[in-house]
Amino acid sequence: MSFALRICNIYRKIPSSIQGYRQARLLSNDVIQQFQNIVGQDKVSTAEITRQHHGQDESLFPCAMPDVVVSPFSTEEVSSIAKICFQHKLPMIPYGTGTGLEGGISAIKGGVCLDLTQMQPTIDANLSDFDVTIGPSVTRIALNNYLHDTGLWFPIDPGADASLCGMVATSASGTTAVRYGTMRENVINLEVVLADGSILHTAGKGLHPKKTSAGYNLTNLFVGSEGTLGIITKATLRLYAIPEKMSAICSFPSTEDAVKSVEEILLYNVPIARIEFLDEYAVNACNKYSNLDHPIQPMLFLEFYGSKAEIESQVNIVEEVISGRNSTALKWATTTEEHNKLWKARHDLLYAARALKPGSKTKITDVAVPISKLTEILTKAKEEIEKDNILCCTVGHVGDGNFHCLIMHDPSDLKEVETIHKFSTNLARHAQDLGGTCTGEHGIGLGKMQLLEREVGDIGISVMKSIKRALDPHNLMNPGKIFDL
């Protein structure tokens, strides 16, 4: 059995007919020609290097290449391509920025990869309505740069400069979720191309009311559907006012002190904008990589939004809470530059962690639990990490009860891989037992299908499958993800 397959088998059971690196299925020349007629000859590629690029995201799953990569420009082109795929029963995989973490774009059954990065760069902002409609080629940072002088921004920040429609597909979240929610709360309308090529407007074409109770909530059906129900070609998103902000950090003698502080801060109804936890290993990595000298202890990074007066009242409460938990005094970032430097260090944590063991690969876990259970699960995780001697940095969006263990390991050491796989599966199961979820932000993708069954139960999975069959009877939309039909 090839090495790649063994890795696959550790992560999930894949039939042996599916391989890591594969010869392209010979799509009939007629199909290729039809694609070329729609998008133009230079927008259709069967080159191996292009297909490899489109078969791999930022997860550890080995590359699974599509048979062809097509780059449409408009929704009409996407629809025409879908019609051909529907007719010939070809799998379709929508591709945004390839920054997913769960193998969402792996073409494990081959098929047609629709690279949406060449789509028309639509940005239609309705500033007084606080919403914007964007196309799939628009990334999060590009949108915020466009809006920067309007006083508005789109606050969901998963770290990577992901495509916004990709963020819709994975129901992304990030450091600001504690104040602004996740994608689930911030999508007003979607334009989706379904498996048969029909174009659906989930809340009605061109409509963007702030709220509605008209019919089934189709918009949220597609949020988090990871490309298994349709191809998102437009999204209407909520915008918020750019806040005045201040940031501070503080250190605690123990994880429990840090996490319990967070619970209390939220119970005092402080509208904290960002509250991020770093364990002592993460702080160590951060210091080394970003040239800082924080004390090597669990830390909280806090960001306050509001006018000076509003922030002052928030800070008073926070200071009282944390000093009752043995923390150091709040250290403030006063200028824009200091503020950006502080948060960059936090955002660079993945690279900082990798730098601890150059050449290693990083497994990232993603569980979320009710906040009251956070201390329990973090303590247990720490025990396991130390017992299994795993090199790991833990960082968390503690305001949402969501945290990530960044585990550096040698992917060719099968024993290490297996240990880590056990650890992360047990962690996810523990999270579910505590009333939480196996994935707070990254999605189910390839690796967590069995965990999903455990989480939503038989009836839950059965209902999901019914919906899938209704919208995609031939199982063409990103097959093999979320659940096996």
Binding site: Y146, D149, T150, G151, I242, T336
Partner: protein, 254 residues
């Protein structure tokens, strides 16, 4: 001495836009294209506002020269903290041929009228990359200049300027009144908040014309044509070294 600061704000095509050349080759497409404040001018405004927050400057006046839409650029400057704005209105197509010398003449005239003692401009505009206005303004006013500033510190009647130069950083001292041109690392500009944008709508924008100031802005250069760079040709693969050498020879490279 409380400084009175003048800041130049040019309205340019937004840096993220994919610029297209007009089919008649007279310029680039600007209709319906997103415009914003020149990024280096944003840095200049930010620095001026910080001086005001430190109580070193007493007033910040933003200026923009061009068609009516320049008022949007000025609103951004006002939302960031400028006190007043002056729009020197130059309609299209005349505004398309406005050159740094014309702008420098306008700035020097206004500097005297507004009795300022510090002018901050961006080091260059991202559309024409001229990097001349600051220097020309200083020359016309016979004021010292600190260009490519990455840090400025007021020390009484002088200003210490750290300049970014090819070899590294150069520190100079200029006596005010002076002209400063802002480089990238001078600061990271704030984002104007919504309340400030709303308040800026009520701040005053004075409109003048070059004629009001008695300035001739006719260009001294003429744009002959604007063209795309040549399309990149596909390369070709060679099988081995001898074929490579053969091709280099046949193309006359060796």
């Amino acid at each position: 001495m409380a400084l009175r600061v003048l800041v130049g704000c040019k309205r340019v095509i937004d840096y993220a836009v994919k610029v297209r050349v007009k089919p008649d080759k007279t310029g680039v497409v600007t209709d319906g294209v997103k415009h914003s404040i020149n990024p280096f001018d944003e840095i200049a405004i930010e620095e001026a506002v910080r001086l005001k927050e430190k109580k070193i400057a007493s007033e910040v006046v933003a200026i923009s020269c061009g068609p009516k839409q320049c008022q949007e650029t000025l609103r951004t400057a006002l939302a960031m903290g400028a006190d007043r704005a002056i729009h020197v209105e130059i309609p299209e197509p005349q505004s398309n041929t406005l050159e740094p010398l014309g702008v420098a003449k306008i700035f020097s005239k206004l500097a005297k009228e507004e009795d300022v003692n510090l002018i901050i401009v961006g080091k260059q505009a991202i559309d024409d990359d001229c990097n001349q206005t600051g220097q020309l303004t200083a020359a016309l006013l016979d004021w010292p200049q600190g260009t490519f500033a990455s840090e400025i510190t007021v020390e009484g009647e002088h200003m210490k300027v750290i300049r970014e130069i090819d070899g590294g950083l150069e520190t100079i001292k200029v006596k005010m009144p002076a002209v400063i041109s802002a480089d990238l690392r001078l600061n990271e500009p704030r984002y104007a908040t919504l309340p400030n944008i709303m308040k800026a709508k009520k701040k005053k924008i004075d409109v003048k014309t070059p004629a009001d100031l008695g300035i001739d802005i006719s260009p001294r250069t003429e744009i002959l044509s604007v063209e795309d760079p040549p399309v990149r040709q596909a390369g070709s693969k060679v099988e081995d070294v001898s074929e490579l050498v053969g091709k280099l020879k046949s193309h006359g490279f060796i």
